[in-house]
């Protein structure tokens, strides 16, 4: 395995993290908080280590094959989280390193599950960094890397492929660098738009910025203990709309950027996605009708919760723990569905679900006409056999990993709903589940082993399983540990 190119990628990732850690320093200056020095020191450390890793020795061969792409991606995310967690721990705002790591992984993977009992006790600096991890993790740090750093060769698509969600990853334009830039331009522009709209609603600028970053990455870290419940109805509607938008396939936004608005609505995945949201809102609204004073309030809360859950954001304005069983089951089902491929959201993804359902339909049809041949069509194109196979294997792996995690954490003997939804909420990068981990709860009560399981689940969910799982393959582990990769680093 070409471990020197992996080292270089990791070095660049650390340098980027160092640069971004200067942003919380800026916040510290604004609010006059001492925590800024910790961030500055950690940023300096990351910069030095990153520079050493990229400069020590230039790699002879800069090609990244699929294996190197996956390993580099998985390790990048682990490094990113390991260093990103340091400030929380050093400032003492989170007592243990494993909790800091949980919080940071939850941030970067845009999960939004927290171990904090009192969010409001955190300094502005740390709150900002916590929300910023969502923003960076949403579109992906390697996509950012590809947008700014000239890595030669076309094989870098393997980095993007390992990091971007969805069954098949394509480029928007011929050059990977331009594609990555377009994605970040759309992402940045939409985030700014949301900040402006929230400011119009009279929200405090700090809240507007952090909440927008949380929405953009479909993360879910709030800055108040009550999540979004205490903001005005206008702000809640703005966040609802933007959560739904950030769950849309970014390729569709590229059509809007090109001025082809009609094409936006003709993307099959987007139509299914919007359809699922609309029907879920309708069904839940009927189910809980009467709980809230007016129909508008009901609609607002239902829309918010549905949008938050399907895009795997995890903000809440109401405690859906108290809703009727049908509504809760609907929401948990939506957690599995997830957002569109190529968005910042998590979950299994609408396109995978739709293709799997179409496979079932085709199989049923085969019972009626055993000799019939029918290609599965998606986005007006026949789905390649390879893609179908990959989706099926993905689903099986998802279920297997889910079952394994579920069994391990069940050892702690909490109630079924809590155990079940904790794994759902972390693997699909949502954040809150039901009962003890519901919108008003948190993950602090789990013991470190369960937390470790959740951390692996969050990373596996964000990186779509295989890039992370490949790290556990004995061949790759051996290559990593016994190659000169480690030696060069120390």
């Amino acid at each position: 395995m070409n471990s020197s190119i992996i080292r270089v990628v990791l070095g660049h990732v650390l340098k980027i993290e160092a640069a971004f850690m200067l942003l919380p320093c800026l916040i510290a200056v604004i609010y006059g908080e001492e925590e800024g020095f910790v961030y500055l020191a950690v940023a300096g450390g990351c910069a030095v280590i990153g520079t050493l890793m990229t400069q020590i020795k230039k790699p002879k061969d800069s090609s990244l094959y699929l294996k190197e792409g996956c390993v580099a991606t998985a390790l990048s995310w682990i490094f990113l989280s390991a260093f990103g967690a340091l400030p929380f721990w050093i400032t003492g705002e989170i007592a243990s390193y494993e909790d800091s790591l949980f919080e940071t992984i939850s941030g970067f993977t845009t999960t939004g599950a927290t171990i904090l009992l009192d969010v409001e006790a955190l300094s502005h600096t740390s709150l900002f960094w916590r929300s910023f991890t969502h923003w960076l993790g949403g579109m992906g740090v390697l996509v950012f890397l590809l947008a700014i750093i000239p890595l030669s060769g076309g094989s870098n698509i393997n980095l993007m492929r390992a990091e971007s969600p969805g069954p098949s990853v394509g480029k928007l334009v011929p050059k990977i660098k331009s594609s990555a830039r377009i994605l970040y331009v759309i992402y940045f522009f939409m985030t700014v738009l949301e900040i402006l709209l929230l400011l119009c609603g009279g929200m405090n600028p700090f809240h507007a910025v952090t909440l927008s970053m949380g929405t953009a990455g479909t993360g879910g870290f709030g800055v108040l203990n009550s999540s979004i419940a205490d903001y005005s109805a206008y702000c809640q509607w703005v966040i609802t709309v933007f959560m739904i938008l950030f769950g849309v396939n970014f390729n569709a936004f590229y059509f809007i950027m090109l001025g082809k608005i009609k094409k936006f609505f003709s993307v099959e995945e987007v139509r299914w996605y919007l359809g699922i949201i609309a029907s879920a809102i309708a069904l839940i609204t009927i189910n809980i009708y009467g709980t809230y004073t007016s129909i508008w309030e009901t609609l607002r809360h239902v829309s918010f919760q549905v949008a938050s859950v399907i895009t795997t954001t995890g903000y809440s304005t109401a405690d859906f723990n108290t809703w009727p069983m049908f509504s809760k089951v609907m929401l948990v089902s939506l957690m599995f569905v997830g957002a569109c491929a190529g968005s910042t959201g998590g979950g299994i993804k609408v396109s995978r679900i739709v293709i799997m359902l179409k496979t079932v339909k085709k199989e049923l049809n085969n019972y009626i006409h055993p000799k019939s041949i029918k290609k599965i069509m998606f986005e007006e194109k026949a789905v390649e056999h390879e893609v179908l196979r990959a989706i099926n294997v993905y689903f099986i792996t998802f279920v297997a990993l889910y079952a394994a995690s579920f069994i391990i954490v069940s050892l702690e003997n909490y109630d079924f709903t809590t155990t079940f939804t904790s794994v759902v909420a972390t693997m699909n990068n949502i954040g809150p589940g039901l009962e003890m981990v519901g919108p008003s709860g948190n993950f602090a009560f789990w013991n470190p082993i369960s937390k470790l399981v959740f951390m692996v689940d969050m990373l596996a969910g964000r990186l779509e399983l295989f890039p992370l799982l490949i790290l556990f393959s004995p061949k790759v582990l051996k290559d990593l540990l016994f190659s000169n990769f480690i030696k060069r680093r120390s």
Binding site: N156, K171, V173
Partner: protein
């Protein structure tokens, strides 16, 4: 928005239909030069393999269909290159593309029937270029065989000037003498030594450069003069009189046609009866032999031992390589080996295969020269730009359109950049090999050879 500017700066939007051998070579070289490449092919596996290796975007579909072309971004494309297997499809692709966007189109056309009508096609269909690798390679073969002591021969300025590569043997008159001395003796009176390859490096020689045995020297001269020069330095210059071609496919046909035109006696060995009959209709002057050309006895019977040149052109590279090695072993014939796939280039260069020809590089070089010239033409007056010696040096032809510091000044007064020389001046079709007192005039085309890159204007030659 941000992206558009980027693309304008860095290159053109190019659509390539077909990812075969030529297609893949083009993609490799054009992505390296920073162009935005979109490829179209029916085979999704091929598309995936290419997009995994090169920074290009792939579209699966029929390149001649308008909607596929739209998907590939035909509206913004600057250049459209069709290199699928089928001539008709290539022509149709280009015809559709020409209507869909304002772009230049290049098609690969290989069938002999169409090649005779190249000019008609280019004009009526508005094609920028029609390429035919087999035909171009056959021209190269003919040039090599008319000057068999050369390693290879490239032509410039519409065939008026040849660039000839020769290997200097031990005890040659040029050995251990510097360029200035050789010039004083009048050996290089109407030629210019442009580049010297030694131990894998390319040198653009100055007056003090000393030539050694084993150097590979490239010199430029008007067509007739190159033979005179070779005679002066003691090389044999008679052209090959007879040749054996194994394999009568398309490549064999084009080669035979060119060699017959050069006045050689051509024998084609072809295994297929029907093809033999067809060849005898097409090439009445050639001797067509219906036999297995890979049979040693057959080759011996047809006189491989005393033939002037031997060219294996079967459809299989491995077979051609073996035939060449065999020919080198049993005879003194000049051997030309054609390699159509790009695998194992290092090994191939180590084998004694005579002159090696890579049709797909010849083709892609021609297209890339066109692309560079087109890409440069916006803000420079480069007419053509030829990569030389595996792109380690470039030959650039400038059109001198206006007065400047370099015009009307005797060349010895100009201080030129290092590693650069003026190969020739083309003044209204008359080739001038420049001496110190010659000068560049407005209206000339000037060819320079250099290892530098990034030239835009003739003034860039000044130090």
């Amino acid at each position: 928005m941000f992206k558009k500017k980027d693309a304008e700066k860095s290159g053109m939007n190019i659509i390539i239909v077909g990812c075969g051998k030529v297609g893949a070579t083009l993609i490799e070289q054009l992505t390296q030069e920073g162009h935005d490449i979109t490829i179209i092919d029916l085979n999704s596996k091929k598309i995936e393999a290419i997009t995994n290796t090169y920074d290009a975007m792939g579209v699966v579909g029929n390149g001649a269909s308008y909607s596929t072309q739209l998907e590939a971004g035909i509206e913004k494309a600057d250049l459209f290159i069709a290199v699928t297997n089928s001539d008709e499809l290539n022509l149709l692709c280009c015809t559709v593309a020409k209507r869909a966007g304002s772009l230049a189109a290049i098609a690969r056309v290989r069938t002999p029937d169409y090649i005779k009508e190249v000019d008609y096609f280019s004009e009526k269909l508005g094609l920028a270029m029609i390429i035919n690798p087999d035909f171009v390679s056959s021209r190269v073969m003919a040039r090599i065989l008319t000057l068999p002591t050369a390693l290879n021969v490239t032509s410039f300025a519409h065939g008026r000037v040849n660039l000839v590569r020769i290997e200097i043997p031990d005890d040659n008159v040029l050995c251990n003498r510097n360029i200035a001395e050789i010039g004083r003796d009048g050996i290089t009176e109407r030629t210019v030594i442009c580049a010297i390859e030694r131990d894998g490096n390319v040198f653009i020689p100055s007056g003090e450069f000393i030539i050694k045995a084993g150097d590979i020297v490239s010199f430029a001269a008007a067509q007739k003069e190159s033979r005179v020069f070779l005679k002066k330095i003691g090389f044999k210059t008679n052209q090959v009189k007879s040749c054996i071609i194994v394999g009568g496919g398309r490549a064999g046909y084009y080669a035979a046609d060119q060699l017959l035109k050069a006045g050689m006696d051509v024998r084609i060995i072809e295994i297929d009866q029907a093809r033999c009959e067809r060849l005898s209709e097409l090439l009445p002057d050639a001797t067509i032999i219906h036999a297995d050309g890979t049979d040693e006895e057959v080759l011996k019977e047809e006189g491989i031992e005393d033939v002037g040149a031997f060219i294996p052109l079967t459809g299989i590279d491995e077979e051609n390589v073996l035939l060449s090695l065999h020919a080198k072993h049993v005879s003194k014939a000049k051997v030309i080996t054609r390699i159509t796939r790009n695998n194992f280039k290092e090994v191939i260069t180590e084998l004694d295969l005579g002159s090696v020809i890579y049709p797909k590089y010849i083709t892609s070089d021609a297209i890339i020269a066109y692309v560079r010239a087109k890409n440069n033409s916006k803000d420079s007056n480069i007419e053509t730009l030829y990569p030389m010696l595996d792109s380690r040096a470039e030959a650039i032809e400038f059109k001198v359109e206006k007065e400047s510091e370099v015009v009307n000044v005797p060349l010895f007064k100009l201080s030129l950049k290092k590693d650069l020389l003026i190969a020739f001046i083309n003044r209204n079709g008359k080739i001038i090999i420049p001496k110190g007192q010659d000068s560049i005039q407005v209206g000339d085309s000037v060819m320079i050879v250099t290892t530098h890159t990034g030239f835009n204007d003739i003034q860039d030659i000044l130090a």
